[in-house]
C-alpha cells in the first residue's frame, strides 16, 4: 500500500510569549523551537504502522524552508522511504486552498502513485483544518476527516472511525484512493533516537520549486489564495486566576454564570 504523508514544520508556541513581527502578518519566530506538526506526527506513525502491516512505500512531502528538512529527516529516520521539500518565495502567503493546490501539483507532476494520502487533521500554527480535504477534492479522490482509527483495510476500500463530538465516533467505509486527515490520539508515535536521525542525514531529499511542479505566480501565494490574512493581533488579555468571592452559594452561582456565558455548559 503506497502512502503519501503531508507534513508541516511548525513552531512550538504553547508556553512562549508571542509578539507580532514587522510585517504584522506573522509572529516573531526567533527563539521558538520548531518540530513536526503534532497531527502530522500521528499521521506519519499511522503510515508507518500500515507499511509494517501491508508493505509499500511512504513518501513524505512538506512545503517549507531549509529548516523544514529537520522534520523530513525525522520522518526518514522513522522509516519513511522518500522525502520531498517544496519551496519557493512565490508560495508565501498561501492560504489553505493554495497550499492544497501546491501539494496537488507536486503529486500530479511527479506522477506519485498512492493508495492513501494522510495529512494531519489541522496544523498547530494556523488551525485551518482545510488542506487535506481540499487536496482530496483537487485530486478527485475521496476523503475522510478526523480519522481516529483505521479499522479495516480491504482491497478497494477502508473502514475507518471518525471522531465526532462528545466522545462519539462514526464508522465510515470509503473507496480507495482516499485522503484521510488524522486526529491526534489515533496511535502512540514512536520515538526516533538522535543516532537514528544522524543515520537518516545521508538520504537525499528532493527539493522542488513552483516551476518544477508546473505552477505560476498567479496560482500560489496571496495571488493564488481566495482568502488573505490581512493582519495578526494579540487579543485583549484576560486576568489570570480570578478568585471568586462570596459564600459557598454565591461563588457557585458566579461560576455557573461564567460557564454559561462562555457557552461551556
Amino acid at each position: 500500500m503506497d502512502i503519501i504523508v503531508c507534513v508541516k514544520h511548525v513552531p512550538d508556541t504553547a508556553e512562549a510569549e508571542l509578539t507580532i513581527d514587522e510585517t504584522g502578518k506573522d509572529i516573531r519566530k526567533t527563539g521558538l523551537v520548531f518540530d513536526i506538526n503534532e497531527w502530522d506526527n500521528y499521521a506519519v506513525e499511522e503510515a508507518l504502522l500500515l507499511k509494517e502491516k501491508y508493505g509499500g512505500k511512504i513518501t513524505a512531502i512538506t512545503i517549507g524552508p531549509k529548516e523544514a528538512e529537520e522534520t523530513l529527516r525525522k520522518c526518514i529516520a522513522k522509516g519513511v522511504d522518500e522525502a520531498i521539500r517544496l519551496t519557493d518565495d512565490l508560495f508565501k502567503g498561501s492560504d489553505g486552498y493554495a497550499t492544497a493546490r501546491i501539494l496537488c501539483s507536486a503529486i500530479k507532476s511527479l506522477n506519485l502513485k498512492y493508495d492513501l494520502i494522510l495529512t494531519g487533521a489541522q496544523a498547530g500554527d494556523d488551525g485551518y483544518a482545510q488542506v487535506g480535504v481540499t487536496l482530496a477534492e483537487l485530486l478527485g479522490v475521496q476523503h475522510v476527516s478526523l480519522v481516529k482509527k483505521i479499522a479495516e483495510v480491504k482491497d478497494d476500500a477502508l473502514k475507518v472511525h471518525r471522531e465526532l463530538e462528545g466522545g462519539l465516533e462514526e464508522v465510515v467505509e470509503v473507496k480507495k484512493p482516499v485522503v484521510l486527515t488524522i486526529q491526534t490520539g489515533i496511535n502512540e508515535p514512536r520515538y526516533v533516537s538522535i543516532a537514528g536521525v544522524r543515520k537518516a542525514a545521508k538520504k537525499e531529499i528532493k527539493v522542488l520549486g513552483a516551476a518544477d511542479i508546473g505552477l505560476k505566480a498567479e496560482d500560489v501565494g496571496e495571488a493564488g489564495s481566495p482568502t488573505v490574512l490581512e493582519k495578526l493581533f494579540i487579543p485583549p488579555v484576560t486576568k489570570q486566576a480570578e478568585i471568586l468571592t462570596g459564600d459557598v452559594s454565591e461563588v457557585s452561582k458566579k461560576l455557573v454564570s461564567i460557564l454559561k456565558e462562555k457557552g461551556l455548559i
Binding site: T13, L146, E169, V171, V172, G185, L229, K231, V256, G263
Partner: protein, 328 residues
C-alpha cells in the same frame, strides 16, 4: 437582498447547538447588511426540525432523502453543490465541527467559493466581508479578508456566538427542495454506524469537559460524588497520579508527566494542588480550580478560582447546573 445560508447540523434526533448559534449570528449579521437568513436542512424525516428552525430563520429549505439520513459527505456535497450553486448566497455558514470539517473545504474547492474556517467573528468593513479567527493555539487573532466573489463561505467555531431566539420568532416559511440524489451519486462513501465511548475506554485526551480530581478527594468513597458532578456537567472524570496510585481511578484517567495530556474546552480541577507534574499535562481550555488552600499552585494556572472545601461546593454547583440544563 443578500442571502445568508446556514447549514443546520443535526445528529441522532437532535439539532446541535451550533446551529442555533449560527442562526442567531446570521440574524444579527443580516440586520447589519440588509440580508435575509435561510436555514438549510438535509436529512430524512426532518419536518419537525424545520418547524423548530422556522422561528430562527426567514426561510427554511428542506431536502429530504433517505440517502441523507445520516451524515455522508459524498451525499451532502452533491446536494449542497446544487443548492449553493443555484442560489449563490452571499454567505454560507457551516459549523466548524466534525461535519463542517468534512464538508466545507470540499464545497469551497468545487464551487470556487472563498472559505476561511473556525471563525470567532464575522463582520463587514467598507462593504467587504471580514472574518476573525485564532492562530497559534488561540494566542493570536487574525483578520482574514476575501477575494472578490459572488459567494463566500465560513465555518463557525462552536460555542462562540450566543444563541438568541428572535422575539418575535421569524416564522420562516418551509420550502421543500427535491433531492437531486440518485443511486449513482453515493457510491464511494458509506455511513456504517455510530460507536459510543465505552465506560472503561474513556479517552480523556479527547474530552471537551474534564473534571479533574486530586488528593483532596481524600477517600475512595468520595468518588461517586464527583462522578455524579461530572455526569451533570457532561464531563469526563480525570485525576492526578496519587488518585491512580491509590487505585481509586484507572491509569487511563491520569493527567500529567507520567500520564496523559489533555486539551479540554473546560477543565475543572477539584482538590488538585497543581503540582507541576500534573499541570504539565494540562494544555488548555478554561481552567477552574477549587481548593481549600489559597496558596495551592493550581491557582497560578487557573482562570478562575474558588478557595473552598470542594465537598461544600460540588453539591451546589451540581444542582445549579442540572437546573440550568433542565431549562433547555
Amino acid at each position: 437582498m443578500k442571502e445568508i445560508l446556514v447549514l443546520v447540523e443535526h445528529r441522532r434526533g437532535e439539532i446541535r447547538d451550533v446551529t442555533f448559534e449560527m442562526l442567531s449570528e446570521a440574524v444579527r449579521f443580516a440586520k447589519k447588511i440588509g440580508g435575509s437568513v435561510s436555514a438549510l436542512i438535509l436529512g430524512y424525516g426532518v419536518q419537525e426540525y424545520a418547524k423548530i428552525i422556522s422561528d430562527y430563520a426567514n426561510q427554511v429549505l428542506v431536502v429530504e432523502d433517505e440517502k441523507l439520513k445520516e451524515f455522508n459527505s459524498e451525499a451532502y456535497q452533491k446536494v449542497l453543490v446544487k443548492v449553493i450553486g443555484e442560489r449563490k448566497p452571499f454567505l454560507t455558514l457551516i459549523g466548524h465541527t466534525a461535519i463542517g470539517m468534512d464538508l466545507a473545504p470540499a464545497l469551497s474547492a468545487t464551487l470556487n467559493i472563498p472559505l476561511t474556517t473556525d471563525c470567532i467573528c464575522i463582520d463587514v468593513e467598507d462593504g467587504k466581508l471580514v472574518a476573525i479567527r485564532q492562530y497559534y493555539g488561540g494566542k493570536v487573532n487574525g483578520k482574514v479578508v476575501f477575494k472578490e466573489s459572488e459567494s463566500y463561505m465560513v465555518t463557525v467555531r462552536a460555542g462562540v456566538f450566543s444563541p438568541e431566539k428572535p422575539e418575535p420568532p421569524l416564522g420562516g416559511g418551509i420550502i421543500s427542495i427535491p433531492s437531486p440524489l440518485t443511486d449513482e451519486d453515493v457510491k464511494y462513501k458509506k455511513f456504517i454506524e455510530y460507536v459510543e465511548a465505552e465506560k472503561g475506554e474513556v479517552d480523556i485526551s479527547s474530552a471537551d469537559i474534564i473534571v479533574d480530581i486530586g488528593r483532596g478527594i481524600k477517600d475512595a468513597k468520595n468518588i461517586p460524588i464527583v462522578e455524579e458532578f461530572a455526569k451533570a456537567i457532561g464531563g469526563v472524570l480525570a485525576c492526578s497520579r496519587p488518585v491512580v496510585d491509590k487505585g481509586w481511578l484507572p491509569k487511563d484517567r491520569q493527567i500529567g508527566i507520567s500520564g496523559k495530556t489533555v486539551k479540554p474546552k473546560l477543565h475543572i480541577a477539584l482538590g488538585v494542588s497543581g503540582a507541576f507534574q500534573h499541570v504539565a499535562g494540562m494544555k488548555g481550555g478554561l481552567i477552574i480550580a477549587v481548593n481549600k488552600d489559597p496558596k495551592a499552585p493550581i491557582f497560578n494556572v487557573a482562570d478562575y478560582g474558588i478557595v473552598e472545601d470542594m465537598f461544600k461546593v460540588i453539591p451546589i454547583l451540581k444542582d445549579l447546573i442540572l437546573e440550568l440544563k433542565g431549562k433547555k
